[in-house]
Amino acid sequence: MRFFERFKIVDFKFNFKNGIATDAYRIVKLGPLSKTPLYKNATVGVDQYRLLLILYKEESKIEERVKQFIKDLKEGLVDKRIFLGFNQVLETNVEIEALPFKAYDPDIIFDTFNQHEYSNVAFPVIILPKVAKSQYDSIYYRTKAVFLAKDIPTQVVTIDLLEDLNNYKWSLLPLIVQIFVKMGGVPYALARRFISTENLADVAINILGFGLSYHPLQKERGVGFITVFDHNGVWNFMDSIALTMDKIDNITENVAKLIERSIEMILHRTTVKNQILIIHYSGKEISSREEEAIRNAITTAKYLNKFIAVNVLKIKDSDIVVGFEDSPHKDKSGKYTWYPPVGIVFSLKRDVYLMVTTGYFESGRGDIMSNIRRGLPSSKIIARHREMEIQDQSKSLLEDRDLLASVFAMCRLNYASMSNPLSKDPVTIRYSREIAWLTLRLEEHGTDLSKLAKIKNIMWFI
């Protein structure tokens, strides 16, 4: 089988405030791209924050570690190459304080935060015990939901991380970058559009990630959600809608409504006349019945014809194992691993592709590295659904290569891990569970997430 395309990390560089680089770690020297969202919205922005408030349980044994955490955030680590300090990296001017709460109870934690005299300009960083992310009722989701309902994003840090000194020191930079993102900043974006053609210079390309998830405990309830990025991987906005999963018409109707709302928002936020929409949707939880509903929703949604083209890609995990006998990558003991290059794409059949997302890559200096430590490489199956597409039949604006590049580019956007140059999932579908569960939880408390002004405009879920 011959490969169809090979995307290289070095061809998808990042744009920082003071220059362009291949890896995200350069933010330390090059500075974050913007302190406010790049799409118009005046209500969020890093400069609105004056304080990082570290909330932790009082009398706990971790007091010393919290003190050290604050010191490290303020002054950086002894080895400044690993971590320089919050304000130093992000070019901000925030104070950092700790505040103890009495019990691991979301309401008590929120009240503690809310009673602080500067809570209106404070960003909450909450220290919690480590729990499995698969637990819907965990303190993690419950606490996040209480703050979100008040339009406040949070950063959770686990006690385990504070106590694991080796992991801790490498986690500080990605941690503060995540906080920066949740404050409304843009740490970096792709230096240029992911498409190779110059013919579309006056065309804006939007990538809309769409997901549909069930409530983990109540199967008749579900949620549809979208996240929107531009052709540089710059965040635009999110939206969601409640679904009644046992009523197929309800799914179709509401998903169409969500897509229509999103299209209006996309068009409202730009002055570029010609727009293309690429929809990424994940097939993880979707049955054929729901897929049919999505298909109907996409093809019946109003305003889609405002775009000069709409392309639809279904992205799902693949269990195909790819090995490269000629791979130059070696493990620690010097043995060849046969890891394939990340970004290599095979054509399985017409409109169906396999993209390798973990494997080896060449660094900017030409070193052979990998974004997988051990185990088998992962890959995604990407299927182009032409039957849902809208486009002028006389010309194909985006080729398959461009559409696949949209997936690779979105895998590059990984604010949660600075050292990994390519995430195994594109950012458009990676946070399905986080978004779905918190949206459902808010709904249980009578809060419609899509009505929260601040939250809609930031990546609160990373």
């Binding site: 089988m1 011959r2 490969f3 269990d319 194992v321 790819v322 090995g323 490269f324 006998e325 000629d326 791979s327 493990d331 043995k335 060849y336 691993t337 046969w338 890891y339 394939p340 399985l348 059949k349 017409r350 169906v352 051990r374 185990g375 088998l376 490489p377």
Partner: protein, 266 residues
């Protein structure tokens, strides 16, 4: 590739199910797996000895080295605690699938990994605890699956246990079960099976402490594979599979043979 609905692959899959000896099929089917063969180390060793093309390639099968390090997880022995409850096996899933593009081909989809066969029947564990002079109180808080024919499996927590009875909590309900009744009921159509569910922290802690410290080590076997190790052993797995099902499969007057195109071009 999505379509599995073509007739020939379906018939081939049905034929596979018929020709693979029952004792080689995995005891428990995992969701989405059509046909799965489970080979313990002893059986695997037999194949490596009898198939000439792989006779000298035992180093390519990681289970052999694993079983040297953790024999208790591989071989049966009376005095061996782990082997009463667990056995690590090579798990080979396979199915035929048709792909139609420019022309039609039928693929054999073969995937191998390592899994653990568990026998965590609560009655067996109670007997074991008694034989070792361990208090049954130690089983408190462990999570068990409550399995009854015609009902959904319920995940319960053991609220209390003594030599006569145990109390199970499910959601907000509590159910008391007489242990003698449970034992006598095992032959009945209405039998209730209680099996420890090792996914939960309390269950894992109990298993590690009192049954088998290394019961999760097979995960290392899976995590340690890279494509080089995977494909070298998969090549041999294919030989083993051919030895099990024969070089050719006969179906309605046609012989189907398995070709080997395990090679990528770059």
């Amino acid at each position: 590739m999505s379509s599995t609905s073509y007739i020939i692959p379906r018939l081939l899959n049905n034929t596979l199910r018929r020709i693979i000896p029952k004792e080689l099929l995995c005891k428990k089917e995992k969701p989405g797996e059509e046909i799965a063969i489970c080979l313990n180390v002893t059986r695997l060793n037999e194949y490596y000895q009898t198939i000439s093309s792989i006779r000298n390639e035992k180093e390519k099968e990681p289970l052999f080295l694993f079983c040297e390090v953790y024999p208790k997880l591989c071989y049966e022995a009376q005095e061996n605690r782990c082997s009463q409850f667990f056995k690590v096996v090579k798990h080979m899933t396979l199915r035929f699938q048709q792909a139609t593009d420019e022309y039609t081909q039928i693929y054999l989809i073969l995937h191998s990994y390592y899994s653990r066969e568990s026998d965590l029947d609560l009655l067996k564990i109670i007997d074991y605890m008694n034989s070792m002079g361990l208090s049954l109180e130690l089983i408190k808080d462990v999570r068990v699956n409550y399995i009854k024919k015609g009902e959904h499996t319920k995940l319960c927590k053991i609220e209390s246990i003594d030599k006569n009875s145990l109390e199970l909590k499910y959601d907000t309900h509590t159910e008391k079960i007489d242990l003698n009744y449970l034992r006598n009921n095992q032959q009945s159509q209405e039998k209730v099976i209680l099996r420890i569910n090792p996914t939960y922290r309390t269950s894992r802690e109990f298993i590690e402490k009192y049954l088998c410290k290394d019961f999760d080590k097979h995960k290392e076997l899976n995590a340690d594979r890279n494509p080089e190790k995977y494909f070298k052993s998969l090549k041999n797995d294919l030989e083993i599979l051919k030895s099990i099902i024969g070089e050719k499969i006969y179906l309605s007057g046609v012989y189907f043979s398995i070709g080997n195109f395990l090679k990528l071009e770059s």
